[in-house]
C-alpha cells in the first residue's frame, strides 16, 4: 500500500532545504515543524524540571533552607506554566504534526505557513514569561491558576498576560490546522471511522482547544484591565467578584486537563495493539469514550472550587458529573486491558511505558474520584493529596505517554533504532523513582500538609525527604532519555526498517525510515486490513 508514492525517496532528507536557516526557521514542512515542537518541548521539560528540583530541594527538610518564600512561590508558578504550556502541550502538537499527515495519508498539514507561525510564536512567548524571573519585582508567584487579587499584586502581570495570549494564539492556530487537516486532507478511503485512534483523539482535543483557549484569553484580559485600566471584573470593592475568575478559569482549566490527556489516550491506543499484536479492542467504543470525556469536561469545572462556598445543589451536581467521567475512562482502561488479553505481547520500551501509563494513570484516576466527592474534598482541598493526584495524571499519564510515543516513532523519524537496553534502563529508573517521588505525597496530603508552601511541620519531614530523593533521581533519569535520543539520532548504527515493529499497522509504517521530507504526494490506497484497528463494522 502506498509504496509507489513514497519508496522512490530513499534519501534521508530528500527535498529538504540545505540551508539551516531556511530549513528550520522558515519551514512549512510538517515533519520539520513537528521536530521543532518536540525539541522545544524537551527543552521546556528540563527548564520546568529544574524549577521542580528547586522546589524539592527546599522541601527536603523542614525550615527555610535554600530560597526565599517569594522565590519558592515563583518556582511553583513557573514550574506549572512551563510544564503545561511549554512541555506537555507542544509535545502533543509536535507528535500530531509529525504523525497525523502520515497516518491519514496527507502530503502535509492543511495550512503549512500558519503551522510555522504557530510554532515560532512559542519561543517568544516563553522568553517573555521566563524573563519575568529577572524583573526587579520578580515573576508571577500567585500560582498557575492566577487567582486575583493575589496574582495582581506583582509587576509582572502584563508580561504574563501577554505570554499567555501568545501561547493561546499559538494553540488556537495549531488546533485550527489540525481540524482543517483531518477534515479535509484524508486520503480517499480513509473514512472518519477508519482513522487511527491517535488521530481521533487529536481531532477531539483540537475542538476542546478551540472552545476553551479563548476563554482563558478572555479571563487574563480581564485580569489585565483590572490591573491597569480601572475595571472591576474581579474586584469586590468595585462591584466585581474574585470567585467569578475561578469559575471562568476552571471552565478553561478542566477541559485543559483533558487537552493534556486525550492525545495520551490516543498514543497508548496505538502502542498497545502493536506490541499485543492484536487490533484495538472496541475501536468505536474508544472513539466514543474520548468524545464523551471531552463533553463531560465542560460540566465539571466547579469540582476545583468545592471549598469556595458553592450552593449545595451545585456541589452535588458537580460531584456526580465528575464521577460520571469514570464511566468512559473505565471503558478505555478495560479496552486497553482487553487488547492485551490473549495477545502475543512483547515488552519493548514503548510498550513498557504504555503499560505503566495504564496502571499509574488509573491510580491518578482513582485519587481523582476521591477528590470528586465534595464532602471528602473539604479535607483534601489544597493539600499535597491534590499534588500527588495531578502528578500521577500528568507525569505518569501525559508525560509517560509522550515518552512512549517518542520511543515508538523515533526509529521512523531518525531511520535508526534506539538502544533498547538504555531505553529499558530509562524506563525502570523512571517508573521506580516517579513513584518514590509522588506516592508519599498522598500520605502528606492526608496528614494535612498544604500545597504551595516552602516550610512545613516537622511531622511531615520523613515523607518529604523520601519524595525529594525520588524527585532528584527521577530528574536525573531523564538525562538517560536525552542520551538515548542523541544516540539514536547521531550515533546509532542499526538501521530501522520501514515497518519498525512487527505488529505495527497503519499508513505511517508504509513509508521508508527515516520518513522522507515529502510523503504521500500521491494519495495512498487504503486497505482495511492494514489499519491498526482491523475491520470496523458499520
Amino acid at each position: 500500500m502506498a509504496h509507489a508514492a513514497t519508496h522512490d525517496h530513499h534519501d534521508d532528507h530528500h527535498g529538504a532545504p540545505s540551508n539551516f536557516f531556511t530549513r528550520w526557521f522558515m519551514s512549512t514542512n510538517h515533519k520539520d515543524i513537528g521536530t521543532l515542537y518536540l525539541v522545544f518541548s524537551l527543552l521546556m521539560f528540563f527548564i520546568g524540571g529544574s524549577f521542580a528540583m528547586v522546589i524539592r530541594a527546599e522541601l527536603f527538610k523542614p525550615g527555610l533552607q535554600l530560597v526565599q518564600p517569594y522565590f519558592f512561590n515563583e518556582m511553583t508558578t513557573m514550574h506549572a506554566l512551563v510544564m503545561i504550556f511549554g512541555a506537555v502541550m507542544p509535545a502533543f502538537v509536535g507528535l500530531g504534526n509529525w504523525m497525523i499527515p502520515l497516518m491519514i495519508g496527507a502530503p502535509d498539514m492543511a495550512l503549512p505557513r500558519m503551522n510555522n507561525l504557530s510554532f515560532w510564536i512559542l519561543p517568544f512567548a516563553f522568553a517573555l514569561l521566563l524573563s519575568t524571573l529577572f524583573l526587579p519585582g520578580g515573576g508571577p508567584a500567585g500560582g498557575w491558576t492566577m487567582y486575583p487579587p493575589l496574582s495582581l499584586q506583582g509587576d509582572s502581570v502584563a508580561y504574563v498576560v501577554f505570554a499567555v495570549h501568545l501561547m493561546g494564539i499559538s494553540s488556537i492556530m495549531g488546533a485550527i490546522n489540525i481540524i482543517a487537516t483531518i477534515l479535509n486532507m484524508r486520503a480517499p478511503g480513509m473514512d472518519l471511522l477508519k482513522m487511527p485512534v491517535f488521530v481521533w483523539s487529536w481531532l477531539i482535543t483540537a475542538f476542546l482547544l478551540i472552545a476553551v483557549m479563548p476563554v482563558l484569553a478572555g479571563a487574563v484580559t480581564m485580569l489585565l484591565t483590572d490591573k491597569y485600566f480601572g475595571t472591576s471584573f474581579f474586584n469586590a470593592a468595585g462591584g466585581g467578584d474574585p470567585v467569578l475568575f475561578q469559575h471562568i478559569f476552571w471552565f478553561f482549566g478542566h477541559p485543559e486537563v483533558y487537552i493534556m490527556i486525550l492525545p495520551a489516550f490516543g498514543l497508548v491506543s496505538e502502542i498497545i495493539p502493536t506490541f499485543a499484536r492484536k487490533p484495538i479492542f472496541g475501536y468505536k467504543a474508544m472513539v466514543y469514550a474520548i468524545a464523551s470525556i471531552a463533553f463531560l469536561s465542560f460540566i465539571v469545572w466547579a469540582h476545583h472550587m468545592f471549598a469556595v462556598g458553592l450552593p449545595l445543589g451545585g456541589e452535588i451536581f458537580f460531584m456526580y458529573a465528575t464521577m460520571l467521567i469514570a464511566v468512559p475512562t473505565g471503558v478505555k482502561v478495560f479496552n486497553w486491558v482487553s487488547t492485551m488479553w490473549g495477545g502475543s505481547m512483547t515488552f519493548e520500551t514503548p510498550m513498557l511505558f504504555a503499560v505503566a501509563f495504564v496502571i499509574l494513570f488509573t491510580i491518578g484516576g482513582f485519587s481523582g474520584l476521591m477528590l470528586a466527592l465534595a464532602p471528602a474534598d473539604f479535607q483534601y482541598h489544597d493539600s499535597y493529596f491534590v499534588v500527588a493526584h495531578f502528578h500521577y495524571v500528568l507525569v505518569t499519564g501525559a508525560i509517560f505517554a509522550i515518552i512512549a510515543g517518542s520511543y515508538y516513532w523515533l526509529p521512523k523519524w531518525t531511520g535508526h533504532m534506539y538502544s533498547e537496553f538504555w531505553g529499558k534502563v530509562h524506563f525502570w529508573n523512571s517508573v521506580v523513582w516517579v513513584n518514590v517521588l509522588f506516592f508519599p505525597q498522598h500520605f502528606l496530603g492526608l496528614a494535612g500538609m498544604p500545597r504551595r508552601i516552602p516550610d512545613y511541620n516537622v511531622a511531615f519531614a520523613n515523607f518529604n525527604m523520601i519524595s525529594s530523593i525520588g524527585g532528584f533521581l527521577f530528574g536525573a533519569s531523564q538525562l538517560i532519555y536525552v542520551g538515548v535520543i542523541i544516540h539514536a539520532v547521531w550515533f546509532s548504527k542499526k538501521k530501522a526498517p520501514d515497518r519498525v515493529w512487527e505488529g505495527a499497522k497503519g499508513l505511517e509504517w508504509t513509508v521508508p525510515s527515516p520518513a522522507p521530507h515529502h510523503t504521500f504526494e500521491l494519495p495512498p490506497v487504503i486497505h482495511d486490513d492494514e489499519l491498526a484497528h482491523g475491520h470496523v463494522e458499520d
Partner: protein, 43 residues
C-alpha cells in the same frame, strides 16, 4: 489517478481546508469576545 486529477483534487481540498479554518477561527474569536462581553456590567 493522473497528475491532473491529483492537482484538481488538491486544489479542491485546499479550498475546503481554508473554509474550515475560517469557520473555526470565527468560532474561537466569538468565544473570546463573548467571554468578556457577558461579564460586562456597565452602569
Amino acid at each position: 489517478m493522473t497528475q491532473q486529477d491529483t492537482d484538481s483534487s488538491n486544489e479542491a481540498r485546499r479550498k475546503s481546508a481554508k473554509r474550515t479554518a475560517l469557520v473555526v477561527a470565527v468560532i474561537a474569536a466569538a468565544i473570546f469576545l463573548l467571554s468578556i462581553l457577558q461579564m460586562l456590567k456597565v452602569k
